[in-house]
């Protein structure tokens, strides 16, 4: 497997709290990798380390390496704009901008000046088609994104990432605000996107991890306990703690 993200002896502290401890994990390209574990285990923190979103919090310090596409993202000279163009993120709560559907899709194009205005129509159509929103919304491109259903909003948030042409999509519990049917739709979408993108998903939902992902990582109290093919983790876990969590003894 060729790893697109490599995490080497990575530690992260919130103030004095040691949130991630010596994490080593390789995320394979064009696969779906899920991170599971009880609340507070550090799975979201690890995800946010990949596009340096933890920078928004005060008093965060790190050591060790997170290498995305050959570059250590914690290098002082790292260009955050470039990193975040390469590594897109979908959040727990759908967070479309309070702008029209079209403006949401075009946001990245406009800030990065990556296309001429005459291409805007194509970009909107392609991006919305990729997330199966085009047929429903092609006549509503100018309505506010906040009027959409939650599922549509989350799809739009994924569509919004595509014009940036990221290699990696980070998804932080992308379905936790959605009902089971919408969740099923988003999972299906992830399967389609896998061909072109590497997806890392954090989820509370073990069944979801089992359904969608190729690889699964189990984190507990800031430690990476076990990381392997999803099939193996869910059938023959090596670590007792993984087994206990998966069988519902705690968590």
């Amino acid at each position: 497997m060729s790893a697109i993200i490599q995490t080497r002896n990575f530690n992260l502290f919130y103030g004095t709290f040691h949130a991630l401890k010596d994490v080593n994990i390789d995320i394979p390209k064009n696969m779906i990798t899920s991170m599971i574990g009880p609340s507070g285990c550090g799975k979201s923190t690890l995800l946010r380390a990949y596009n340096r979103m933890n920078d928004l919090l005060e008093d965060v310090s790190v050591n060790g390496e997170v290498i995305v596409d050959g570059k250590n993202v914690n290098d002082p000279g790292m260009d955050l704009v470039e990193l975040r163009k390469k590594v897109g993120m979908v959040f727990q709560r759908p967070n479309p901008f309070p702008l029209s559907v079209a403006e949401n899709v075009l946001f990245s194009v406009k800030i990065h000046r990556s296309a001429a205005p005459k291409e805007y129509g194509d970009i909107i159509e392609k991006s919305l088609k990729a997330v199966d929103l085009w047929d429903g919304l092609k006549d509503k491109l100018n309505t506010s994104a906040l009027n959409l259903s939650l599922e549509q909003q989350q799809r739009l948030c994924i569509a919004r990432l595509l014009p940036v042409k990221p290699d990696i999509l980070l998804m932080d519990e992308p379905c936790s605000a959605l009902d089971p049917i919408a969740t099923g739709h988003i999972e299906e979408l992830m399967h389609h996107l896998k061909a072109n993108y590497t997806i890392v998903i954090v989820t509370h939902n073990m069944q979801q991890a089992a359904r969608v992902s190729d690889y699964t990582a189990y984190l507990y109290l800031g430690n990476l306990i076990e990381y392997d093919l999803t099939k193996k983790i869910f059938t023959v876990p090596k670590d007792r703690r993984t087994e206990d969590y998966l069988s519902g003894k705690f968590g």
């Binding site: 709560r93 967070n95 901008f97 990245s108």
Partner: protein, 294 residues
């Protein structure tokens, strides 16, 4: 048992009535004020046409025959208000953005309390300081015969409107959900792009309200303008000439009028004009805020 129940109901009833009365009282007071203003103000128009009043350029209320044209006063208020708005709005919004989005937490706390202090300074004190420092500075810098000008008033009032604009605009910016900013940054936006393209538009209605309330404060301000704008009741050619505002006229002349005279009524009529102007501004601010609520 039965008795205490009915006692409780009585107690509830009294409390409800009291709250109801307090709520109604504010409306009643506004109505009474407006009625009084209207009764006194409209008496002027028995003797003087409303056009002569609004569009007349001469304000000589105690000469014979008297002239009650307030156009020069309206223009004076307009000059000072527009000047203050041009100064206060960009600086006020910029400093709200700085406090809410850019400043580190310690600086933010210091700036916020600083702005509260600025808001707490009585206008007469500011007027006095302005008279002693700003007025000579304007006179010398622009080589004028007097520093008591519309420009000095605009500068001073700009300062006075700033705390209102900054604190309300800052609240509006803080009310923008953090997830919009996260989304913008995660898409590779710089901090400035996320402010300019996401946060400011999302806060726009609150910022409009802040600006409107700031302008309302400026139009209603009396003491400081009376002290530093020179109070010449003539239409100025430019902003570097003395002007007299509506508010300053009422404040300066109310003590010298004979009750029931045209002069007395004309000051109330000026009050009506001011009332209508501020009412419109508040209406616009309200409209802006409610547009967001939709």
């Amino acid at each position: 048992m039965q008795k205490s129940f009915s006692q409780k109901r009585l107690q509830e009833w009294i409390i409800e009535r009291c709250i109801y009365m307090s709520g109604i009282a504010s409306i009643i007071f506004v109505c009474l004020i407006f009625l009084f203003l209207a009764k006194e103000g409209f008496s002027l128009f028995k003797n003087i046409s409303i056009f002569d009043f609004l569009l007349g350029q001469k304000w000589y209320p105690i000469s014979t025959p008297p002239f009650f044209g307030i156009l020069s006063l309206i223009v004076g208020s307009l000059y000072v208000t527009l000047g203050a708005t041009v100064i206060a709005v960009p600086i006020g919004i910029a400093s709200a953005v700085y406090i809410s989005e850019v400043a580190p937490p310690r600086v933010r706390e210091i700036l916020k309390s600083g702005i509260e202090v600025l808001a707490a300074i009585p206008s007469v004190v500011l007027g006095f300081i302005g008279m002693m420092t700003l007025v000579p500075w304007v006179k010398n810098t622009f080589h004028l015969s007097t520093g008591l000008t519309a420009f000095s008033g605009a500068l001073m009032l700009g300062f006075m409107a700033m705390p209102t604009i900054v604190s309300i605009a800052e609240d509006a910016l803080n009310a923008v959900p953090k997830r919009y900013k996260e989304a913008a940054l995660a898409l590779g936006a710089t901090r400035w792009q996320s402010i300019w393209r996401v946060i400011l538009p999302a806060a726009s209605s609150g910022i409009v309200a802040a600006v409107m309330l700031g302008i309302g404060r400026v139009i209603g301000e009396t003491m400081a303008v009376m002290m530093i704008t020179g109070n010449a009741a003539r239409i100025p050619d430019n902003i570097f000439q003395p002007v007299r505002t509506l508010t300053a006229t009422v404040a300066a002349e109310m003590g010298e009028t004979v009750r029931g005279s045209d002069h007395y009524y004309s000051l109330f009529a000026i009050g009506i004009v001011l009332f209508i102007i501020t009412f419109c501004i508040n209406l616009i601010a309200d409209f802006a805020v409610h547009r967001k609520a939709k």
